[in-house]
Amino acid sequence: MLGAYLPILVLVVIACLFGLGSVVFSSLIGQKKPSQVKLAPYECGCEPVGSARERFSIKFYLIAMLFILFDIEAVFMYPWAVLFKRLGMFGLVEMGLFIVILFVGYVYVWKKGALEWE
């Protein structure tokens, strides 16, 4: 039964090996001549200013939140797409209603300017 998922497992294993391999081999094979300048963090060639761990703006959060809400909408479309032909016209109307209600939300968000980077 789980055999169907074997390719995914193989892919996961290969991805892990690739990631690990790159780190391990480069540290084994690569030349190491560290100096003060080489070890400094790279920031577009300028002198690094301040800490890299700044507080994030709440703007990101709003976008992420909206993303989740529309993402959940997409989850519902998955079984609908699988059954699309069998559900026929009725399914189309049903999903159309679902989308229209969320479209109201989309129009609201757009008009409100919540998608803009203020």
């Binding site: 959060y61 679902f98 919540a114």
Partner: protein, 167 residues
């Protein structure tokens, strides 16, 4: 073969969920949580519920985790600065162990049997899990499905109202 696979995934799930609560760095905790979510998705696959697995990965490991990490960065918590009280650790562990014990006890006693549904495993595999869920969702649970969209709409408005800078 399958039971060995299960044990490996289960061990990873337990270890990563313990890491979620013990890591000092919140980002490490969050990444351990991702690992736990993936293990859960694997369990769903093993239970012949691929749709649940996909949802788990798309919604939880994908979207919800992004939000959690945003919040960590928003608050700019680096390493836990508040020292955990030993009382809290002891009380938490005690409650956790109690619930674990209780669950195991009920399972051992075998009294936790619910009503067996009319779907057999073979049926689910032959018809398809997504098809079955979809059929239930778009016929039997038609009304809850449509209410969900109103719920999401209200949540969108709420998110904008509470988090937008200028309203």
């Amino acid at each position: 073969m399958e039971s060995i696979f299960f044990l490996v995934v289960a061990a990873v799930a337990v270890i990563s969920s313990i890491l979620v609560v013990t890591c000092k760095n919140p980002i490490n905790s969050a990444l351990s949580l991702v690992m736990t979510f993936f293990c859960l998705a694997t369990f769903y696959v093993m239970l012949d519920a691929p749709f649940m697995a996909a949802t788990q990965v798309i919604v939880y490991a994908g979207a919800i985790m992004v939000l959690i990490i945003f919040v960590i960065m928003l608050l700019n918590v680096r390493v836990e600065t508040v020292k955990r009280g030993t009382h809290a650790v002891i009380a938490g562990s005690a409650i956790g162990l109690f619930i674990l014990f209780q669950t195991v006890w009920f399972l051992m006693k075998g009294s936790m049997t619910g009503k067996v549904g009319d779907m057999t495993k073979e049926q689910i595999v032959s018809v398809g899990h997504v098809e079955l869920i979809g059929k239930a969702l778009f016929t039997d649970f038609l009304l809850p499905f449509e209410v969900t969209s109103v719920l999401l709409l209200a949540a969108i408005v709420g998110a904008v109202i509470l988090a937008k800078k200028k309203i």
